[in-house]
């Protein structure tokens, strides 16, 4: 082993107050200057582990067993004052959402230097100078001006970098990064990641880099741990994990990337929209002059960053937002912009599936009510015929009819999204608008849902307008692709044409910035992202 590790977690078990395990017998060590990736799906306990590495257990959780040694000290065994000293001088934390992690009442630079000055590690002047220098090195414009601002005045991507500067302030031996770029757009993500990587390399700090995205962590870490249900199921050098993932959980992290389907061209026109312009309330236009065609039995994917107008487009087509100008036709007949002007049959033919089934299904209703309502409404089914159709729908989305009496809150995430799909299919629609329907699910379940969507399309001939920000998902589902930016369509066409030979700069940038595990991807992506911004 040689030199003693900087961080040494031994046999750590953490449970909820009720006794349910969150971490089970975790062993983990980190050498000085090493970056260790910690990868897991939601609920795997990775944040809890990251905080435990700093000697912190959140309220509602309790440490059942185990010790955490950091640089010769057992963090759970030293008095609070001593622990505070260790945290201030030698360790740091970068949270997922910098927007909520900064105190809204203080200026940014004051927050960056607070701990160092408070503990007398350096005088205020030195601290300020270092804070400004670090911010500049992280690529933040006008650090002096920025530092005088309050958190709410600064964008998310910048705040994430300011938080990194705060973590670097005392040149700590260990930094825990907790999903530091998850809330950012792919282009911003690439730039922030590269800034973090460079600063880490310069300072020689060790880091625990927590994420759910194997491709992201492959760019940052020398070694990777896979966490699943509170247990470390695989641990290896980054190249080894990428080349030969041993555990099924690890292989599942690539699940969506592995799901591919041949794109199909042609098909008769189902929906046609011309020159759609739309905006909310009295605000300015969000959509500009959008034209699109959706063929019957095909999937059109709409991709773009947040704020590109892709969600607004979906809302206009389903009738939630009336366009300010432009026309829509369904099967050649005019489609009114306002939901109220669409008759029952139009409402039946165009259905909408929301991103989060947790909030899209009424938690007070049972699965049976969820499916019965549209069937009663659209097909006027009653009694035995209704019961039979409900069971049929459940089988169609591969759900056990025994789940019918459950309330939606008692179903798992994947089951809920299947139920939401079944509800959308209940009236036999022609077009289903899917708004990021897989993005809040774990990768394995994403692949299952994508497969289900494809199968249902073959069986029923339904068309999908599939809104997403994830390029892997596009490859897995789309026949045609629409790329949006700033409320306009910047490129559209057959999937393989758009993805393999992109014409517009926006598409190229999106493709370049989508995380890839290949070495050197990050540097290329970041430079592409920077170029575009100028």
């Amino acid at each position: 082993m040689g030199e003693a590790p900087l961080l040494d977690i031994r046999g750590l078990s953490i449970t909820t107050a009720a006794g349910a395990p969150v971490l089970r017998d975790v062993h983990l060590h980190l050498r000085r200057g090493e970056v260790l990736g910690l990868v897991g799906e939601s609920g795997s306990g990775k944040t809890t582990l990251g905080l435990a590495a700093l000697g912190h257990v959140r309220a509602g959780l309790a440490r059942a067993a185990g010790r955490v040694w950091f640089d010769g000290e057992e963090l759970f065994g030293i008095p609070p004052a001593q622990l505070a000293g260790v945290r201030a001088a030698r360790m740091a934390y970068v949270a997922q959402s910098a927007q909520t992690a900064f105190n809204p009442a203080h200026r940014l630079t004051n927050q960056i230097i607070e701990a160092a000055v408070f503990h007398g590690l350096m005088d205020e002047k030195t601290a300020r100078a270092r804070a400004l220098a670090d911010q500049a090195r992280l690529g933040l414009p006008e650090p002096e001006k920025l530092g005088r601002r309050y958190p709410h005045q600064v964008s998310g991507g910048q705040l994430q970098r300011v938080m990194t500067a705060m973590a670097m302030q005392t040149r700590p031996g260990l930094i825990v990064f907790d999903e530091p770029t998850t809330a950012l757009d792919v282009t911003t993500q690439a730039r922030v990641l590269l800034a973090m990587k460079r600063l880490l390399a310069q300072s020689g700090a060790a880091a625990l880099f927590i994420t759910h995205d194997l491709a992201v962590v492959a760019q940052m870490a020398q070694r990777i741990c896979i966490l699943h249900k509170g247990r470390i199921v695989e641990e290896n050098a980054t190249e080894a994990i990428l080349a030969h993932p041993a555990h099924p959980v690890t292989r599942n992290l690539w699940a969506v990337r592995q799901a591919q389907r041949t794109a199909r061209a042609g098909g008769k026109t189902l929906l046609e929209a011309r020159n759609l312009t739309a905006g909310y309330g009295r605000g300015k236009d969000i959509l500009h002059d959008v034209c699109l065609r959706i063929a019957s039995g095909r999937t059109v994917a709409v991709v773009g960053e947040s704020g590109s107008g892709k969600t607004t487009l979906g809302r206009v087509i389903c009738g939630l937002l009336e366009p300010r100008s432009g026309t829509m036709r369904l099967d050649g007949a005019p489609l009114p912009g306002l939901l109220r002007q669409r008759g029952k049959s139009l409402r039946r033919r165009i259905r909408f599936v929301h991103q989060s089934a947790e909030t899209a299904l009424n938690p007070a209703h049972r699965a049976r009510d969820i499916l019965a309502r549209p069937l009663r409404l659209f097909e006027a089914l009653r009694g035995a015929a209704l019961a039979a159709r409900i069971e049929g729908l459940m089988r169609m989305v591969e759900l056990d009819p025994a789940l019918l009496p459950r309330r939606t809150g008692q179903l798992s995430g994947g089951q809920r999204q299947r139920l939401a799909l079944a509800r959308a299919l209940a009236g036999g629609p022609d077009l289903v608008i899917c708004d990021e329907v897989t993005s809040s699910l774990d990768k394995v379940i994403q692949r299952e849902i994508l497969g289900l969507l494809a199968r249902l399309q073959e069986e029923t001939g339904v068309s999908y307008l599939f809104i997403t920000h994830d390029m892997d998902t596009v490859r897995a589902i789309a026949d045609e692709v629409i790329v949006m930016a700033g409320g306009r369509i910047v490129e559209q066409g057959l999937r393989d044409a758009v993805l393999d030979t992109p014409q517009s700069e926006h598409t190229k940038r999106l493709l370049a910035c989508a995380p890839r595990p290949q070495p050197g991807w990050l540097e290329t992506a970041a430079s592409t992202a920077r170029e575009q911004e100028r």
């Binding site: 939630l320 939901l339 409402r347 259905r351 909408f352 409404l377 309330r407 008692q410 509800r423």
Partner: protein, 281 residues
Amino acid sequence: MTSRGLHFSPRRERVTAGRILAAAIVWLYVLTALLGPWIAPYGEAQISAEPFAPWSAAHWLGTDQLGRDFLSRLVFGMRNSLFLALAITIASFALGGSLGLLAAAGPRLADQILSRLVDVFMALPALIFALMLLAIFGTGAAQLIVVIAALDATRVFRLTRALAMREAALEYVEAARLRGESLVWIMGREILPNITGPLLAEAGMRFAFVFLTIATLSFLGLGLQPPAADLGSMVRETATLITYGDFTPLIPALVIAILAGAVNFLIDGYQAQPVPGGDDG
């Protein structure tokens, strides 16, 4: 393992000895109120001894300023106040609750009108408003019910609207709109079941509060018309005894406090916390 309980309660509280005691107290009050006429040793307005008689075997708590049995008045007063508070709470929830749902799920204009109206009514403390209306309409059970229920409905409206607004922003309501559901369906079948938990807790709070308001008004001499018994006026009418070191007049007040306390205690932790100005975070 389908649970049929209040699955929407924010957090399930433990069943503690304190809670069992509080529930027992509430039941005791309900029973006493229901069985009042059979439990009370004397009639509600029956003069059975000399005024201000001391505690005795015939009159356990003595008599009041007119020579009526204090214990019997206590039982009837409790019964009257309890039924009155119940009627007011039900009325205020029917009115404030349905308008609150309408404001949250209905057209923007309805919300604006209703909210501004409620703002005006809430720009005056409830007790002052009640006093003014009672000055105009006179006192009596019917006036009490109408005035307090109307004022209380403004508070219920605010809470219902806030709770329902939060639900109305969720996608399941949007999904219902996309299906073409009616406003009544969205209010009653989509939103209401999801806010029943906090509303029930609030109903408990409001009941305790109404009970206290009735006591306060009757203490001020603006409650039920004599000879009907009510707890607040019993305190006022016999208060002089206190200056002689006799705490009998405090018993009706204690009866009020114990019920209000038991209800509050049962509900503490369930209710949507009244945190004003919590919207800036």
